[in-house]
Amino acid sequence: MSAITLDEHEEHDEHHGHARVNGVMHQFEDIDQQNECYAVGMWSFLVTEIMMFGALFMAYTLYRWRYADSFLAAHQYVHIWPGAINTTLLLASSFTMVLAVHYTQLKKTKLVLMNLGATMFFATAFLVVKIGWEYIPKFQEHLFPGPNFVWDKPEGSKNVAQIFFSFYFTMTGLHGLHVLIGILIIGFLALQHKKKHPAVHDDYMLTEMVALYWHFVDLVWVFIFALFYLW
C-alpha cells in the first residue's frame, strides 16, 4: 500500500469534492439530510445508554418490589437534601447548555463560552456535592457493600441492605462517570469555540450533539432522584 501524505490526501479530497460546500459534506444532498444524520446517530447512541441505565432501573425496581421493607430501611440513609441540591445544579446546567446551543446558532462566541463555562461549573459542583456530602459520609459509616459493611438497624436485613447500596453506588457512580465525561467533552468544545474552529463555529450541530448528551445526563438524574431519594 502506498503511503499518502496529508497534502496528497487533501488534494484527493478536493478532487472528489469531499470538502464542505455551504456547510454540507459531499455524502449528503442538503443540510437537512446532514443534520438529521447527526441527530439519528446521536439518538441511536443515547438509546443504547437508555438500555444500559434502563436495565439497572428495572432491576432496582424489581428488587425494591421484592424486598420492600429492607429497601425502605436502607433508603433512610439516602438523604434528600444533597439530592435536591444536585437536582437544582443539573437543571441549571441543562438551561445554560441549551443557551450555549442557542448562542452558537447566533454565532455569539462570548455568550457561548460563558454558558459552557457555567455548565461546567454546575457539573463540577454536582460532583463535589455527590462525593463530599454523600459518598464520603457513607464510606465513613461503613455503608459500602463488602466485608466492612455495617448494618446495626433492627429493621431490614443486612444482606438486602447491601444489595440496596450496591444499586445505589453502581447507578449513581455510573451517572457520576457520565457527568465527568460530560465536563471533559464540554471543556473540549469550549476550547474549540474559543479557537473559533469552523467545525463548531460555522456548524451548530456539534454543540447541539454535546447538549443532547448533557440533557440525557440530566434526564438519568431525574430518574435516580425520584427512585432513590424520594420513593
Partner: protein
C-alpha cells in the same frame, strides 16, 4: 417535511430563549412538588404515584423541549421512543411471568 421545517433546519432549529426559560421554571416548579411529597410525608400508593408522575413530567419536558424532540419529524420520534417502550412492556410481562413461576414453584414444591 413541510417548508417551514426545511427552512428551520437550514438555518438551524432556532427557538426563542423565552420557551427554554419557561420550561426551566416549570421544571423547578415540578421538582418543588416532588420535594413537597416528601415534606408532607405522603405514604403508600399516593406517594409513589405522585413521585413517578412528577418524574415522567420532568423527563418529558427535558426530552421534548431541551432535547428538541418536539420539533423532530414523526419518523425519528417513533424510531427513538417505540423500541424502548416495547422493551419496557416486554420486561413488565417477563416480571409478571417470573413472579407467577416463582409463586407456582413455592406452591408445588415447598408446601
Amino acid at each position: 417535511m413541510d417548508h417551514s421545517t426545511t427552512t428551520a433546519h437550514a438555518e438551524g432549529q432556532q427557538h426563542p430563549v423565552a420557551i427554554y426559560l419557561y420550561i426551566w421554571i416549570l421544571l423547578f416548579v415540578v421538582s418543588t412538588f416532588s420535594y413537597l411529597v416528601d415534606y408532607f410525608h405522603l405514604h403508600g400508593s399516593l406517594r409513589w404515584t405522585l413521585i413517578l408522575l412528577f418524574m415522567v413530567v420532568k423527563a418529558g419536558f427535558i426530552v421534548a423541549i431541551f432535547m428538541h424532540m418536539r420539533w423532530e419529524r414523526l419518523a425519528l420520534k417513533l424510531a427513538i421512543l417505540v423500541p424502548p417502550l416495547c422493551l419496557l412492556i416486554l420486561v413488565g410481562l417477563m416480571a409478571i411471568e417470573g413472579h407467577y413461576t416463582f409463586a407456582t414453584r413455592l406452591a408445588s414444591f415447598v408446601h
